[in-house]
């Protein structure tokens, strides 16, 4: 994976709580191969009418938000199904970070494994950033080295990322490769652990 240190991008507001992964990508698209064009299915039933035409009311269909790379959501983003395709769809659309009050645990972990940054901020800051994003001109800088989200007005919101995940992302490390360096410990554990 490419290392991630710092990036800047346009924020799009998604003023919804409890956005479940079924809404991020409906189940009927989960059978698609990994090299398929996953951005087409992101928020599919919120973005497109049954005849396939874009719904103008949905934020990511409206310029400039169709080029957003940071999503500012609400509470409990990505609850529900463990489908990692929710992350594939967000990334395929160009989203690199999601800012929310809270995340579904499995989605949070899936995001980190793929280099999509899930950023938890306090409710009042999420609301403030979402409102600031509504005008379509909010460009935020996400700095993973310093673990802050920087706003154009100079405000800096610190966020926490699990140390190991941050280390993997900053250095572009492959987690499986890293764990396999611990094979002797795994084998020693197996020798004393009866299943």
């Amino acid at each position: 994976m490419e290392p991630i240190t710092r990036f800047e991008g346009l924020a799009a507001p998604l003023a919804l709580d409890n956005v479940d992964t079924d809404q991020i990508i409906p189940a009927r698209f989960l059978r698609k191969p990994r090299d398929a064009d996953y951005q087409r299915w992101l928020f599919h039933d919120l973005r497109f009418a049954p005849d396939g035409s874009p719904l103008p009311g949905f934020v990511l269909n409206r310029p400039p938000f169709d080029a957003a790379t940071i999503l500012v959501a609400g509470r409990n983003f990505g609850v529900g199904s463990s489908r990692e395709a929710a992350v594939y769809a967000l990334q395929a659309f160009g989203i690199r970070a999601v800012i929310a009050e809270s995340f579904g645990d499995i989605h949070y972990s899936n995001a980190l494994k793929n280099g999509l940054l899930p950023i938890r901020l306090p409710p009042e800051r999420v609301r403030a950033l979402r409102e600031a994003a509504e005008g379509g001109g909010l460009r935020l800088t996400v700095d993973l080295e310093r673990c802050v989200v920087a706003s154009p007005d100079g405000a800096e919101d610190p966020f926490a990322v699990p140390a190991f995940a941050r280390d993997c992302l900053l250095r572009g490390l492959d987690e499986i490769g890293l764990t396999l360096t611990h094979l002797p410990e795994i084998e020693a554990f197996e020798a004393r652990h009866a299943v």
Binding site: K32, G80, G104, S109, F164, H182, I186, V195
Partner: protein, 459 residues
């Protein structure tokens, strides 16, 4: 050693190594996969890695399984045929044990694996499916994972985990007649919210949990994820040991170590919720989040009754999706279809509860019954439950995720309303624009007879 929780005991017994920041590499005793795990197979194939412990890895063909027949003949969609074929090829290539479509022990992973005795007390269990929390009902530490984590477990038989916070949910007292495990867990989610247990592992305890059969405990642990927690668990007891006796992969007698799997007196939880089970009613959801639930004997709330402005907006949105105004009695809401099935509520006692209500009655709306496993199907047929369903006019199908996940081609249809024993009423969960009301098997059967959302007592 200081007082430990059930969770602590299983966690501690599986730590391969611990980093300075507290992150642990946990050993996995059981890894279940399904057709949707193809991304993870591709990930290890791309790296040229083998599956480290094929003997601890078990496959279940459930998400895309057709429920009308046991072969691909009736599967028209080439992508669904393709995904089932990919599953078969991966099973063969890695020489894995799998319960395929035609296997007599095929079923939904969270129904069939416990039934086979694969999930045992004290084990760590993972699967690329969020309802893996179900297996905690047997006193295992079980949680759902994503595709990258599935690939990691394939390759290493371990997973990196930060220890979550811990929550104790005590169901005290005795439920009123007609109040089932499903109603208990829906009431819990309505109370603490869909994010109420995020970041926590939940242990369920209390008199009402102890009194539940294993199947009821599986229902409750299954829906822990709907309260935001990856893991739900119940300390194993004599009920558990008796349930496991004689199952194919279970030891002939309970392992003495299983009796040490309980939370020590004085062990600390980060949060505690107490539910007075005696006050609960049969529940139904009215909205598009499992937390949007209320007693089925009552009425749907109005958006204006929401506790705050944000929730009022969310409720209005949910009601609009559901085609409801708010304020109507559940008993006045007409249904189009009823689904009895899923990893939440398709075990033998669930089918018995529904059959008891249906006996001597006729359904007014189409009802689909999909047993949780082929073993459940056979056991139900041996008791004559299939005949009760057929005489009532319900459709008796084969095992699979079916209308819960809506991946195998079974869908409810746009703006059609379904009373469902499954676990999620999310928008589009049962097909685009489908309207889902989550209920217990008893209420599902009663609602099929009434053609409206009612508890069994209302018939």
């Amino acid at each position: 050693m200081s007082a430990r929780t059930l969770f602590d005991k299983i966690w501690d017994a599986h730590v391969v190594l611990r980093r300075d920041d507290g992150l642990c590499l946990l050993y996995i005793d059981r890894h279940y996969f399904h057709e949707g795990s193809f991304h993870a197979f591709n990930q290890i194939a791309a790296r040229g890695l083998p599956i480290r412990r094929p003997d601890l890895t078990f496959g279940f063909g459930d998400h895309y399984a057709p429920t009308l027949a046991r072969s691909l003949d009736g599967v028209a969609d080439p992508e669904i045929r393709g995904i089932i074929g990919t599953f078969e090829r991966n099973v063969a290539a890695h020489r894995l044990t799998a319960f395929r479509l035609a296997d007599p022990d095929q079923g939904i992973v969270h129904v069939a694996a416990p039934e086979l005795g694969l999930t045992l007390p004290g084990m760590t269990v993972v699967c690329g499916d969020s309802h893996t929390s179900s297996h905690g009902a047997l006193g295992a530490l079980a949680f759902g994972i994503g595709a990258s984590e599935v690939a990691h477990v394939f390759a290493t038989q371990t997973i990196w985990q930060a220890k979550p916070k811990q929550m104790l949910v005590r169901f005290e007292g005795t439920p009123a007649p007609g109040v089932t495990a499903k109603d208990m867990v829906l009431a819990l989610i309505a109370r603490i919210g869909t994010g109420g247990a995020i970041g926590h592992a939940v242990e369920f305890a209390g008199e009402a949990i102890r009194a539940l059969p294993v199947e009821g405990r599986l229902t409750i642990c299954n829906m822990t994820i709907e309260a935001g927690a990856r893991t739900g668990m119940v300390a194993p007891d004599e009920t558990t040991f008796a349930w496991l006796a004689g199952r194919r992969y279970a030891p002939p007698a309970p392992d003495p170590r299983w009796r040490e799997l309980f939370t020590d007196p004085g062990a600390r939880f980060d949060a505690e919720v107490v539910i007075d089970t005696g006050t609960l009613s049969p529940m139904a959801t009215w909205g598009t989040s499992p937390e949007e639930a209320a007693p089925i004997t009552g009425r749907v709330p109005r958006a204006a009754e929401a506790p705050d402005a944000a929730r009022a907006a969310a409720w209005a949105r949910s009601l609009a999706y559901m085609g409801l105004e708010g304020g109507e009695a559940f008993a006045d809401i007409p249904l189009d279809v009823v689904f009895l099935g899923s990893c939440t509520n398709a075990r033998l006692p669930d089918l018995r509860a529904a059959a008891e209500v249906l006996k001597g009655r006729r359904v007014r709306v189409p009802m689909i019954v999909s047993p949780g496993s082929e073993a459940v199907r056979r056991a139900a047929e041996a008791e004559g439950l299939d005949r009760i369903f057929a005489e009532a006019g319900a459709e008796w199908r084969h095992a699979g995720c079916s209308l819960c996940a809506a991946m195998n081609g079974d869908i409810v249809g746009p703006r059609r309303r379904c009373a469902s024993t499954s676990n999620r009423n999310f928008p589009g969960r049962q097909g685009r624009e489908a309207r889902t009301h989550l209920v217990s098997p008893r209420s599902a059967a009663a609602s099929a007879v009434a053609g409206r959302l009612v508890p069994a007592e209302a018939l």
